[in-house]
Symmetry: C2
Subunit: 546 residues, 2 copies
Amino acid sequence: MSSEQAAEEMQQLNTSSESLEAQREARKQAKAAEKAAKEAAKAARAAQRGQKQSSALEPEADDPLAAHYGDPELVQSQAQTERVWTDVADLTPKLDGQTVLVRARVHTVRGKGKSAFLVLRQATATVQAVLFVDDVTVSKGMVKYASAIPRESIVDLEGRVVLPQAPIEACSQTQVELKVTALHAISRAAPLPFEVTDASRSAEAVRKAAEAGELLGTVGQDVRLDNRFVDLRTPANQAIFRVQSAVCQLFRESLQARDFIEIHTPKLLSGASEGGASVFQFDYMGRPGCLAQSPQFYKQMAICSDMGRVFEIGPVFRAENSYTHRHLCEFTGLDMEMTIKESYHEVLDVLDALFVHMFTGLNERCARELAVISEQYPFEPLKFLPKSLRLTFAEGIEMLQAAGYDVDPLGDLNTELERALGKLVKEKYNTEFYILHRYPLGIRPFYTMPCKDDNRYSCSFDIFIRGEEIISGAQRIHDPALLAQRAQELGLPVDSIQSYIDSFKYGAPPHGGAGVGMERVVMLFCGLDNIRKTSMFPRDPKRLTP
Amino acid sequence: MSSEQAAEEMQQLNTSSESLEAQREARKQAKAAEKAAKEAAKAARAAQRGQKQSSALEPEADDPLAAHYGDPELVQSQAQTERVWTDVADLTPKLDGQTVLVRARVHTVRGKGKSAFLVLRQATATVQAVLFVDDVTVSKGMVKYASAIPRESIVDLEGRVVLPQAPIEACSQTQVELKVTALHAISRAAPLPFEVTDASRSAEAVRKAAEAGELLGTVGQDVRLDNRFVDLRTPANQAIFRVQSAVCQLFRESLQARDFIEIHTPKLLSGASEGGASVFQFDYMGRPGCLAQSPQFYKQMAICSDMGRVFEIGPVFRAENSYTHRHLCEFTGLDMEMTIKESYHEVLDVLDALFVHMFTGLNERCARELAVISEQYPFEPLKFLPKSLRLTFAEGIEMLQAAGYDVDPLGDLNTELERALGKLVKEKYNTEFYILHRYPLGIRPFYTMPCKDDNRYSCSFDIFIRGEEIISGAQRIHDPALLAQRAQELGLPVDSIQSYIDSFKYGAPPHGGAGVGMERVVMLFCGLDNIRKTSMFPRDPKRLTP
């Protein structure tokens, strides 16, 4: 990449804060931001002048242990040594007595006369490191240096693994601590917009402390998101994005084992302004372009191109002005499409096996991550069956009616009714994951295959986790004449979809597929309350930064 | 997805042809398109009136074998039967004498009096199916029906596997053929924009035929791309996109085995119009937005957020007006970023292992696909070493100078010099895959870490396949003061990148990474001449459809 490209790239980044929150939160945020900005400006000026932020950066001149502490020169690929590094998560009693080298973040630091206590953090793992002045391995200057390292700085620390008399309950590594023999801050943190410890606290812990008369800090959603690169450091967030990574991997594993191939469809499409409010439009070399709202038509074209079974993991763009707990303007779509011999149940068979594989895999491979998330955001493990429940839409309506809900048997279910049905299903079938199929034709897209036996219904389905929809899918119409007819029946402008219809006219196999909202899967599997918690840098109608 | 969303989605799709080619090609194309359009319109009208295109759709009324042929009702999820289907690729002599059921495309069809010969195609596999009137299993009406099925239609065919006296050289399944016992066209193809057989031919075959006085059809790039959903059916294209799928899978495998986690960074960024010509800009709910040119800054933020080792596979958008064989306006980026302890060579170690794993994996897992590609586009297997060659930029310059090239030792290498160096390296080291590192600082982005020992150079690298760059990477500057200083030195507006610089001020680990152009890897590994061959629906300055 050239320097010019880099220059343009940087202009794309802008982390200016956008307040969304109530008055109270806004005031708090403004104050914190102002304070942080002032301190940051001061630190930056100092840093740019090449001055030291603290007098404790360098060892004291006459200290015989001077080589064991102090800020080293910048890591700049000078050389590669044979030094061996240990991960914090690997610090266990079996290393007792050994000297280890660790690079980690300073989670907390506390100087106390002739001693200093640090907690080091690496992702979700923490360990305590201690310094006591003995003038043999630890000098006064060294303790002073350690005590002055700002939280969130990154240090290279050498220490001897020892077994503490009592477990260190505040750390993930409860059975060991490190007696520091060398300490070098390789990257010092400026004053933080908020404390990672405050951002890591559960609501329950805050409530309990309040009952005991102690006021613990919390951090509002907007302050977190404005400083997402700090917020993401909390143990729960470290775990959430590892779970997210596993969701994608498990999705692929299951499909690849069934001969699906991965495709990449274009996100830049041609389109005029008539595209409607929910499409992002842009200028493409002087022509109107818009961003793909789904890979739907392209994955169908892949099927018409004999790809057989395809999947894609990629961004999906929706210019919808919905500021809810479960909508984003950009999310990650897990999409699949496949030929079928006879029925959309073949698609459901694949999805059923896929999600059982995914849930089982998450519980097995991400047990530690799920426990970490649960500490801050408590949740019950998802109830699911080895073979997923399939209910027809009509059966769902019956259950709702029997429970006293007034529902239109051929209308759509709103969020409230979906939740209610989820509850009834859980009570009756003991599962929070189920399939609802044969939706009314009238509430599905024009390209959905109608049911042969009763054309009020369609060969379609939604799939739910904890009463919220995560997947929508169907058998698609592969016959160009029927497709044109359905478009006409729904009053769609056939002209504008002629090329889509045409793609089926050179021989098209029966096929079906589905689209999954990845962030929703993570949110609902982990019982989280907001989709912004499962998007690394969320985009909604009010947020486009950082 | 709602009907309204679907309606908007369709408007995004537009396959109008865009002529790019020379006068001759354009004339040919226009003629073909006109003809296709006329025939398509006729077929569509006929289909919409519910009329039959051919009198041969239905069995003859008095034919006792009437149940064995004819167009069946539309596959509409009526029921699921226990019928067992066989893939064309699985039709081998060990099935001799068995009756099988196949759903496949009609590749070619030839009626000849009382017999008909079909070639069925599934992805890259083909098999011959034959009908001879015997009035026991095959009637006259059946042969007439078979003979009239248009090429590229999809049929359900039942037949007995027999061993032909001589191998069927024209098919991939040379050792067997099918004696048809039932035949039903489930999706009939309209007249094609071009023949798949013409699009599947190698230049060599056309040349040889011409020498023998025979004029074989070929299909130009624009006609292919205008009708990509037909073009993608050629065996070479079927193979190319399976190789592409494997490239992504092998990339991930190698990184996941090394504890990388998968992330999804936003493609919608905030940005003003000053962003420059190579950024796509759009309106984001009333604010200026632009599309991500690379996940660079976000993957660095993930590192500053303690993700440790991350990768992303996703679209990258470049509004560059470069109409070359290796540039696209939208391509798939394989990106990775990782903390390092000491040196960018740690990144190179990961990339070296990754690409050796990828190339070995492709040769092993995609042997058949590579052979199929080679049939239409002949290429030599890539030469690579078990441990990849690393040359410094200075060493590369020396090799070029020794070979008589006049090169600036601190300037950038143009495409011609890169190719020349690739040739020299291949001659000297017998590899077409190598790493060039320690690029001059002046030609790299401002965020590239300078070399400590000689600041004319930087901690950066490019990686080449067959003399063309596929990867660019480096150690990044993690010190906010140095980052600001470098931006100033290069005359960049520090204000506009303040938020990027700020993301490093809360403690940032040393780190480095790289970005790989996925379509380039596939193109160069397979020795293809144009990146449009490895993008499913390519986007360039002149093409935004289909």
